[in-house]
């Protein structure tokens, strides 16, 4: 493992796109994703001087997750942001299963299904399958045991399957 402290430019260059895609899949909204990415990079720039070499992924994604939750709270009146507390009310927006047979529209339907997941499940699935974090890194970022991460990912995938098949 490389324990060197990266520069802010290196973080932006190497992780910016992943941060944006994490935000995009959690919110389904490019404007909110852009705002979040910029907020995360600001926080990273401020926090790098105090960063102690260790699990950089855990540190970075904890900042990203906290920034996301802060952004959601700040924009909670905007209907385009899927709020953690509004998860269950969003379930009605998932397309009917027969509609999902159209392969060309799968990404769109999958995005809607992701937004319909309870936040903890959506976050775990996106961190695992979009960002590519290990269960241990997800646990560090979200401050839960690996067993909880395992359960959230599995239940999230099962719910997605139920909505799309």
């Amino acid at each position: 493992m490389n324990n060197a402290v990266p520069t802010w430019e290196e973080v932006a260059r190497d992780h910016g796109r992943r941060i944006y895609n994490f935000a995009y899949r959690l919110t389904g909204n490019p404007d909110d994703a852009s705002d979040l990415m910029q907020e995360v990079l600001l926080r990273v720039r401020r926090g790098l001087s105090g960063y102690t070499p260790g699990s950089f992924e855990g540190w970075l994604w904890r900042i990203t997750r906290n920034a996301f939750l802060d952004e959601v709270r700040r924009k909670k009146r905007r209907p385009t942001v899927a709020l953690p507390e509004d998860d269950r009310s969003a379930l009605g927006s998932v397309p009917a299963p027969e509609e999902t047979l159209a392969e060309s529209r799968l990404p769109e339907h999958l995005q809607q299904a992701l937004l319909a997941l309870p936040f903890d499940f959506r976050e775990a699935v996106v961190m695992c399958d979009v960002v590519g974090l290990t269960y241990e890194e997800i646990g560090e970022a979200t401050d839960v045991p690996v067993g909880t991460v395992r359960s959230r990912i599995h239940r999230g995938r099962k719910m997605l399957r139920g909505m799309l098949e």
């Binding site: 260059r13 852009s34 910029q38 990404p107 979009v130 290990t134 269960y135 599995h154 995938r157 997605l160």
Partner: protein
Amino acid sequence: MTHPTDLLSAFLDGELESADHAMVANHLDGCASCAVDLEGISRVRDWVRGLPVQDPPIPLLPALRAPRWAWAAASVAAAALAVGLVVTPAEPEAFDLDTLAGQHTARVVVSPGISSIRGPVSGP
């Protein structure tokens, strides 16, 4: 028979200890139900992993640009400058003023250390 249902995703992701991995593998050899579940979970995982990668709509480098709410604040500041008002940024480190100013019709030159600006500003 106890089905290791909750371990299937971790099995698929290679996130189980070797003993648990072997236990699930042995179970799958003789349980069609869990094999079907694993196949379905695997399909969903492939879908999510196959989602198109989105490119940020703005450049990441070289300058860190402010969130849209800060852009709105900067626009108000630029308007105030244009009519000769005094503006003192509350958090001057929060965004790159040169970058922001360069993308507005008004062009402002700010020297380091200056905390207020007086006078009209001309366009490019």
